[in-house]
């Protein structure tokens, strides 16, 4: 999986909802449950803005899983060995599964699957921007597992405690599977780092291209993240963008060292006083530009996704026709 911070509005900017003066009884009950760190389930009353935020976040998250299959899927037929190919197929299939867990969770909020897919296919809904960058060679596949899935894990673990029950349960399922994703990527890189100079250079090059983009996956700095506070108050978001980013950096620096690569940031150094690594400036202009649709692969990813969906239409039609035929036959036989 892959969430980037899901503070990115689909279209119109949404202003944070103000707390109304007079709360209804239902609203008070909802607020009390949230305050007590309780869980909200599909049939429970919830404010419209809470529902809307969740539908947006969970569906964006689902879209990210589905589109996330594409950059790695490109390498299934070119994996360097049968073993790596089998591993990559399993990983990409997991991502498809993650998308399905999440669509299923989002549907409990009353939004249909077709509506969500329409949002993705029309370009109205967002997905994680990291997938709008190309996978140029095999090292990129390893780096995606290590860094992109690694960043995703940081993001997703706190979501297992999300206040919305179906989302939290889907995330527990997802998180169980993510560890394999990160480890297989890191291990593939370890193997390359024991190879030729050329192979080592490929790994370093892939790290150089992906590092900053992975840091941006956590979303804009807290100061520029107006929806974050509401998400935190509702127990949807548990740890802020900047804190998650810092956790990721602190965890990754030692891993890079063992692997034998450098991270492309001259400002990256341990800060004894803070007990964390300091790091340099993220290029947010580039991030927003990619979110806006102008990244190197936005058009290609969406077109591939839409084509796959349309090419599968006859399968869905045939399955339905078959189901109807079987039903009719059963009715006739019973008569």
């Amino acid at each position: 999986m892959y969430t980037q911070s899901m503070d990115i509005p689909d279209g119109a900017a949404k202003k944070p909802t103000a707390v109304p003066d007079a709360m209804s009884e239902q609203e008070a009950a909802f607020e009390a449950r949230i305050a007590a760190d309780g869980r909200i389930e599909p049939q429970d009353w919830m404010p419209a803005a809470y529902r809307k935020t969740l539908v947006r976040q969970i569906s964006q998250h689902a879209h990210s899983e589905i589109v996330g299959m594409l950059p790695e899927g490109n390498w299934i037929s070119r994996a360097p060995s049968l073993k790596r190919k089998a591993i990559l197929i399993a990983k990409v299939q997991d991502e498809g599964g993650h998308g399905l867990y999440l669509y299923s969770a989002a549907e409990t909020l009353g939004t249909g699957r077709d509506e969500m897919l329409e949002g993705l296919h029309s370009g109205k809904a967002k997905y994680s921007s990291i997938f709008n960058y190309p996978t140029l060679n095999w090292a990129d596949v390893g780096v995606i597992g290590w860094l992109v899935d690694g960043a995703a894990i940081m993001n997703q673990v706190p979501l297992c405690r999300c206040s919305y029950g179906p989302y939290a349960r889907a995330m527990i399922r997802v998180c169980k599977e993510e560890s394999f994703h990160q480890r297989q990527g890191y291990e593939a890189l370890l193997v390359m780092m024991k190879g030729t100079e050329e192979q080592k250079a490929m790994v370093q090059d892939a790290v150089n291209r992906y590092w900053w983009k992975c840091l941006a996956m956590f979303g804009p700095p807290d100061a520029d993240s107006p929806h974050s506070a509401q998400g935190m108050r509702w127990g949807i978001k548990r740890i802020s963008n900047d804190d998650l980013r810092q956790k990721f950096i602190d965890a990754t620096v030692p891993q890079a060292k063992v692997l034998g690569v450098t991270l492309p940031d001259p400002d990256l150094k341990w800060n004894e006083a803070r007990g964390h690594y300091d790091y340099g400036q993220i290029d947010w202009d580039e991030f927003w530009n990619t979110v806006a649709g102008n990244g190197p692969c936005n058009k290609e990813r969406l077109a591939t996704r839409v084509k796959a969906h349309n090419d599968g239409q006859w399968v869905r039609d045939a399955a339905l026709a078959y189901a109807h035929k079987q039903q009719e036959r059963a009715i006739k036989e019973a008569a």
Partner: protein
């Protein structure tokens, strides 16, 4: 770029998985499928890729009748004042030991 209507006509199914022999089936999510047989196959691929199950049930989501959360009070409260249904309600002399 145009897209065709997606899964409108494929009904929603709820999936229940028995994780191992001796345990109950537990709800784990939902999926869309044309019919029950396909729902089972898809449930296997979506929810048991790592041998998480030895048996799967699927049933149409529309077949579920749920208690109304707004009536949670009236519905469940009658059990709240019947503390004599719990073993701790009864005091038994210590010399009796475990009972």
């Amino acid at each position: 770029m145009t897209t065709k209507p997606a899964l409108k006509d494929w009904p929603l199914w709820e999936v229940f998985v028995r994780s191992k022999q001796g345990l109950e089936h537990k709800h784990c999510g939902s999926l869309h499928a044309a019919d029950a047989g396909q729902a089972l196959h898809m449930a296997r691929d979506v929810y048991t890729r790592r041998q998480e199950g030895v048996s799967i049930w699927v049933l149409p989501s529309s077949a579920i009748t749920a208690s109304n959360p707004d009536e949670k009070g009236e519905f469940f409260d009658p059990a709240a004042d019947k503390i004599y249904r719990h073993p701790t309600f009864y005091e038994i002399p210590e010399e009796v030991g475990h009972m």
